[in-house]
């Protein structure tokens, strides 16, 4: 039982998180404060929401890089739409979901119809979505976003007065992240669609033979990625309270790295929601921890890279060891 747990990536990431939080907490006890924890969870909500979609595509057996461009386009479009036609936050989320799903479905359609690798199509659509966003908007920033985005971003559960006079509390953003995680978990573990995604990721031809509609599965996955990217776009604008048209783009490799650290296989067919959550949590804690330990944020990338390298080397070493112990013994007759 214990050995089985240790064999999973999640266990190592969990231990790493535990060790890291002890080290950071010992050097700076404010790490464990309610204010700090809610703070770093909030700032990583957008990456957390997008990571669920990335996990789905990785399980399907490919790498999507266009989701940041989708989030960027949706963020801009929704803010412009609300400024023009008005509406409350639910309208904003509805518009974001629809737009995200449409952009995602385009990916899925092209990928399945032309039978080309996911990464090629998503690099192409990344360029189209992001390029067109800049062409149409001329790269203009939007600073005076509608008040209701700010109000939504400032809603606090369990509000408390901080020592310096401000208030802090649990923002709604981490709850949306949590909702995305739960939704992803239900789809992957409790529905036929989830089974289908694992089957297609494991072996597409075999999946087709047993009667899984691979086209529908792919459409669903890319629609879902677009949906989450759209939601993430609105969450992002609620957090940063302005729209900069190139701020989300460029985060795709960080998101993929977080999901991979969480144990998802880049060959498809393997990956868990819990692992993905741990991966993003690790990144969030590292970023926060560096600040609390008064280490320059320049080191963030170095530590992330080192963790990726250590993680993949350890798991490769384990795999090689296992291959050694499982050598077939040939017995002469």
């Amino acid at each position: 039982m214990f050995r089985k747990i240790l064999r999973q990536n999640e266990a190592y990431v969990f231990l790493l998180i535990l060790a890291l939080s002890i080290v950071i907490g010992m050097r700076n006890p404010s790490f464990f404060s309610f204010e700090n924890i809610t703070g770093f969870l909030k700032s990583y909500s957008m990456i957390g929401i997008m990571s669920v979609g990335t996990l789905f595509v990785l399980i399907l057996g490919g790498t999507d890089v266009s989701f940041t461009a989708i989030a960027q386009v949706v963020e801009y479009a929704v803010v412009v739409l609300i400024m023009k036609f008005g509406g409350n936050i639910f309208v904003a989320f509805f518009e974001a979901a629809i737009l995200g799903i449409v952009l995602g479905l385009i990916n899925g359609l092209v990928i399945h119809k032309f039978r080309v690798p996911i990464i090629i199509v998503t690099i192409a659509t990344f360029n189209i979505y992001f390029g067109m966003l800049y062409v149409i908007t001329k790269g203009k920033l939007i600073n005076n976003i509608p008040q209701m985005f700010k109000d939504f971003g400032n809603i606090l559960l369990f509000p408390q007065k901080s020592a310096i006079g401000g208030t802090y509390g649990l923002s709604l953003m981490p709850l949306i992240w949590l909702a995305a995680l739960i939704l992803g978990w239900i789809i992957l573990r409790k529905t036929m669609i989830g089974r289908g995604i694992f089957a297609v990721g494991g072996n597409e031809i075999a999946a087709e033979r047993i009667g899984i509609n691979t086209f529908a599965i792919k459409l669903f996955v890319f629609g879902f990625v677009g949906f989450l990217a759209g939601i993430a776009g609105v969450v992002h604008v609620a957090i940063v309270q302005s729209v900069v048209p190139n701020i989300i783009v460029g985060k795709e490799l960080e998101v993929i790295a977080a999901v991979v650290i969480g144990g998802a296989s880049i060959f498809g067919g393997r990956g868990t929601i819990f692992g993905t959550f741990l991966g993003v949590l690790l990144f969030a804690m590292l970023n926060n921890g560096l600040t609390l330990l008064r280490i320059s944020s320049y080191w963030y990338s170095v530590t992330i890279g080192a963790i990726i390298l250590i993680a993949i080397t350890v798991s490769a070493y384990q795999r090689l060891q296992r291959a050694k112990t499982n050598v077939k013994v040939q017995i002469q007759e």
């Binding site: 092209v110 090629i120 192409a124 360029n127 890279g305 990726i308 993949i312």
Partner: protein
């Protein structure tokens, strides 16, 4: 999922190339067909070409090199640090010999990064995607930590000439590009190492049983890929007269895109230098065209994506038509001569 063998021939590329040239001739002939325009294009082509060559080499065995941009910047940073160590703070006055030493140190740094990537991929059997993602992130961090995010500038004339100089009226970076393309083409098609790359990419197990040392192939492959990163860095240092931790970051996806346009199979085994050169020229022509028409430069990016999708579409339609024709021919034959044809020929 084995995809269709897309863009097998360069025919579609020639068609696109000619179409773009005709389009430019119609839209803006006075500015497009000038010597100055072609000279400025020949300054811009080498950077994107070397990065794309670096990516292509990784793709030949089904790998990917996500660390190529950070290797490029790392090379530049190591080079200027070496210059500083040799000739003090006044790096722009450094002599030719110390420039050469600094460039060599930068090159060695790049090659060691490549060797490390190759080692992890070959000996520990870790997927190239993860290795290069990890190394790339780490190296990017190292670059930021070394430079503290600042731009470091001041290169001696010798290094500036690599990016800006003229030789016999031709820009030196373009000459390097021509020589590098010819050498790369020779290396890939005429040497044992080149052939083994394609073989490992098509079938690594078969390659191993053909007495190819796959591990050493991987190491040399990623060293070659990093060599092109170093070349990019040398040209960039010359043109920008500075180094920074995040130069050319947006070129990572572009270099991958150039490979797909050039007919490189991301699953390994297929891809030629000729196709790459064509694809790079197409990408540059689009970019120049957009600039000359005074359109938004980001339109270039959207057009590049559209060209890929168009190419995917036409290839798909072409291959499905071919498949239909083949099937109907087989059926025709089966009708006219039922005994001679068996069902196996349908597959």
């Amino acid at each position: 999922m084995k995809p269709l063998r897309f863009f097998q021939s360069n025919r579609s590329l020639y068609i696109i190339l000619i179409a773009i040239i005709i389009l430019m001739a119609i839209l803006n002939p006075t500015r497009f067909f000038t010597v100055g325009n072609f000279i400025s294009m020949s300054y811009q082509i080498p950077i994107i070409a070397f990065l794309s060559f670096g990516s292509m080499i990784a793709f030949l065995t089904g790998g990917i090199n996500l660390a190529i941009i950070s290797t490029t910047n790392f090379t530049g940073i190591i080079t200027i640090l070496t210059l500083r160590a040799i000739s003090g703070q006044a790096t722009y006055e450094a002599s030719v010999s110390s420039s050469i030493i600094a460039l060599s140190v930068g090159l060695i740094a790049a090659l060691s990064i490549g060797a490390l990537c190759g080692f992890l991929i070959g000996y520990l059997e870790i997927p190239a995607f993860l290795v290069s993602l990890g190394i790339g992130t780490l190296l990017n961090g190292v670059n930021i930590v070394i430079t503290k995010g600042y731009t470091i500038s001041g290169f001696p004339p010798f290094i500036l000439d690599i990016g800006n100089g003229l030789l016999w009226g031709i820009p030196i970076p373009f000459l390097i590009f021509i020589v590098a393309s010819v050498l790369l083409s020779f290396l890939l098609t005429k040497t044992v190492f080149g052939i083994s790359l394609y073989l490992v990419g098509s079938n690594a197990v078969a390659a191993r049983f053909s007495n190819i040392n796959i591990r050493s192939v991987y190491i040399r492959q990623y060293m070659l890929s990093s060599l092109f990163a170093a070349l990019t860095s040398f040209v960039m240092m010359g043109q920008l007269n500075s180094v920074k931790a995040n130069y050319a970051e947006s070129y990572l996806l572009v270099s991958v895109l150039a490979c797909f346009l050039g007919g490189v199979d991301p699953f390994g085994g297929f891809g030629k230098t000729g196709g790459m050169v064509l694809s790079i020229i197409i990408l540059q022509l689009v970019s120049t065209g957009v600039n000359l028409l005074r359109l938004d430069p980001y339109l270039t990016q959207a057009m590049w994506g559209l060209i890929i999708l168009l190419l995917l579409g036409t290839n798909y339609i072409r291959s499905s038509i071919r498949e239909k024709r083949r099937l109907s021919a087989v059926l025709q034959e089966a009708k006219s001569n039922p005994s001679a044809t068996n069902s196996a020929s349908l597959l």
